[in-house]
Amino acid sequence: MAPLSTDQLLIQRIRAGQADAWEEFIARFEGRLLAFVESRTGNRASAEDVVQETFLGFLTSLPHYDDRQRLESFLFSIAAHKLTDYLRRQGRRPAVPLAPWPESQSGADVPGKARAPSSIARSGERRQWQEAALAHALAEIIAGWKNRGQWHKLACAELLFVRGMTNKEVARRLNISEQAVASQKFECLARLRAAVRQQDLPQELFPELYETP
């Protein structure tokens, strides 16, 4: 069995109810959480309140926390939820209206050949495994780019998928042709489709991989 990481040991002590471990946890993470929240609230006092709610939220969700998950990411995701709630209460973040399943909407832009929810097999654990499998494939692609010093490929994929920019905007930002962007996007999607086939994952969960250019 692999030795426990510093984070895992700290969580173990918090689960045992050790107050000094909780104090250490707060000292370790509050600064970065505060900076994250403050970048949106623009107000220190409100940001501190959101961070306080984040720590309370963490203790509430502790029984469900999976130790294999990166602790910092887990905390940031709680902070993002608390921040969204705060911004909604302030009237800054509009509420999202409910929509029927997009296939029933005329003209709705449904990516690929997405099927209705009832036909997508997705128990919690299975879905986590499917997501982890694609994340692993993506991580391998990214590691390959980094190891080969192909930073431009990483930059292009990040703007396309993480920031969600159009090919045209990515080309402008990176000062390369749209054709070059399209080609790198095609290469990345092809490698991910191969991973989906290899892992025998259901294609309908990842409609973006089968979009026509």
Binding site: E23, S39, Q52, F76, L138, E158, M165, L205
Partner: protein, 134 residues
């Protein structure tokens, strides 16, 4: 100003765009019913279990440097090509998680955040009662 893409709406739902982009989308959502309907459709896909590359990439923070690497960046000990990518990730991608880590490290380094101990005490006192019972 460029049109807002479906992938940007996904990132918006994840609270993962730079603050000024988040504000731009919030403003557009208030005045554009079509964009609001598009956002609802994105959310419906997500609720149905559809997974996007961007959401997975962000959730697992697949390209984010570690906090230790950001500390090395601040010390100026990274190779130039890696440091250039770190700057890109911060300034062009606008990763708020990494920006938060860097801001925190800079504050710790400059010891400018003298109120930290007081804040930590407040967080501790307001939450310690919720610790699991040993």
């Amino acid at each position: 100003m460029s049109a807002i893409t479906r992938r940007e709406l996904e990132a918006y739902l994840d609270e993962a765009l730079p603050a000024e982009e988040m504000a731009r989308i919030e403003k557009a959502l208030r005045s554009d019913p079509a964009l609001s309907a598009e956002l609802a459709a994105v959310l419906a896909c997500r609720d149905a279990g559809v997974l996007s590359i961007g959401a997975i990439w962000r959730r697992h923070r697949l390209s984010c440097p570690t906090r230790q690497q950001w500390a090395e960046y601040l010390l100026g000990t990274l190779p130039e090509d890696a440091a250039a990518y770190f700057r890109f990730h911060l300034e062009t991608v606008g990763c708020r998680y990494c920006q938060a880590n860097l801001t925190d490290l800079q504050r710790q380094h400059s010891q400018a955040d003298a109120a930290a101990a007081q804040r930590r005490r407040k967080y501790f006192q307001s939450s310690v009662g919720r610790l699991p019972k040993s």
